[in-house]
Amino acid sequence: MDLQIALDTVWVLVAGMLVFFMNLGFGLVESGFARSKNTVNIISKNFVVFAVASIAFFVVGWGLMFGDGNGLLGLKGLFMLGGADNSPAVGDAYSGVYSAISWTGVPLMAKFFFQLAFAATAATIVSGAVAERIKYGSFIVFSFLLVAFVYPVIGHWIWGGGWLAELGFWDFAGSTVVHSTGAWAALAGVLVLGPRIGKFGKDGRARAIPGHNMTSAMTGAFILWLGWFGFNPGSTMAADPGAISHIVVTTSMAAAAGALAATATAWKILGKPDLGMTINGALGGLVGITAGCAFVSVGSAIIIGAIAGVIIVLGVMLLDRLKIDDPVGALAVHGMGGIFGTLAVGLFAQEAIAPGTTGDGLLFGGGLGLLGAQALGVLAVGAAVFGVSLALWLAIKATMGVRVSEEEELEGLDIGEHGNRAYPDFVQTETVA
């Protein structure tokens, strides 16, 4: 019994460490996909965002998400993990104010650490989309608000026993809770900021602004893939051998399929196997499988990953058409990938794989019920996060400002915001604007 707790705790902590490590993955993908003159700014954002999220989630986020309350938000034990809690007791033995997460038999601190790592991920997603033009201070403020208030409320709806969970909405590891939430918040920011100087030519067509370091991007992508082995199988929050083995394989196969499908799609459409698309495709596959990793078969996981890979390539190109400037593809990967992944549960889930959870999805004879609940969740979360984020971004814009000056943007944010350069020993050049 005690040993079970110890083993579950080791598993949850190791998984949480891997999710923590994803911050480095995001930092490297995002900075690699941006120009060298903005590198210090981007990696500063990605480094400090975990620190900001740690404080925000500790101070009030955790309580709002997991505190006992109503269908909308947590109300008890709000501040600083301060509520009563006798974890690792579970079931009837549990007495405390964080009952929504009392199903896992690990100590409160292990729960907090694992969930903190998730909360920080949502904020990190925003970082990439708003890169190369946002003020450092403004990003920090938005991140704090996102992790303190927005993310936990959404999280409460789905993982904190809130109204979406009640309605039969399933999101195993967070295609919606984490990835779509991050992407909707990012989209609001991107619209408030506008595109980077030079992104759209005089003719209105999107121009490529090549990232400065593909080695960084590749390194980050592998680290993210590794981190997802904490993200998805860790969401069991217990060392259930069958479940975690299954989820490791669905997760990895979806990533593989996403990478290959995106590569093939890019090769076909663009004439070359564009590395940026391969990377985005793998990440798209990972985001896509996140909601359903525990509910679908390995074969379905491969199909989900492959479709996500295609969606990401088309999505990146579509956003360019729509003049929405996302330097790293975060909106396609986490937004479109997250939406598709959430809906995919409604299509591919199988009762036999995780008995007593989702039931069968549409393609396995389960009818439209599950798919409907998934779609409702996608819409509700999208509307709520986008609306609130837009309001927050506009408020920040009105008070402290959100975008750096044109001159600073041309010279690079590294000098302007930080007084640093990332690579002072190298002679540099400018490809675009």
Partner: protein
């Protein structure tokens, strides 16, 4: 022939290249340089210590043209590179005695 050298702001390179193309220049050579002048550098910080970077990044362009074209090239560069802000740069003109196209051995204006 004349050699015209211009020191410009890096993000003006594309505009200058197009302006030169428009007046009939078929080839040019460019490279990154560091400029020191009226436009001041900036102060950077590194792990607590400040330091001044006196040089600002500039792009240098070189184009050798027939005497007849020299004035037009000068003007084209000045117009395309001007932002009106300090640090827009300079255009210098020199005599060029001889030119050879390596591929064909053509000499003089034909080599350009």
């Amino acid at each position: 022939m004349k050699k015209i050298e211009a020191i410009i702001k890096p993000h003006k390179l594309d505009d200058v290249k197009e302006a030169l193309h428009a007046v009939g220049v078929a080839g040019l050579t460019a490279y990154e340089v560091k400029g020191f002048g009226r436009q001041k550098g900036h102060t950077e910080i590194y792990r607590g210590a400040e330091y001044t970077v006196d040089f600002v990044p500039k792009m240098k362009i070189e184009v050798v043209v027939d005497d007849a074209l020299a004035a037009a090239v000068e003007d084209a560069i000045v117009e395309a590179a001007r932002s009106g802000k300090i640090g827009d740069g300079k255009v210098f003109t020199y005599d060029c005695d001889a030119a050879v196209r390596i591929r064909t051995g053509e000499r003089g204006p034909d080599a350009l």
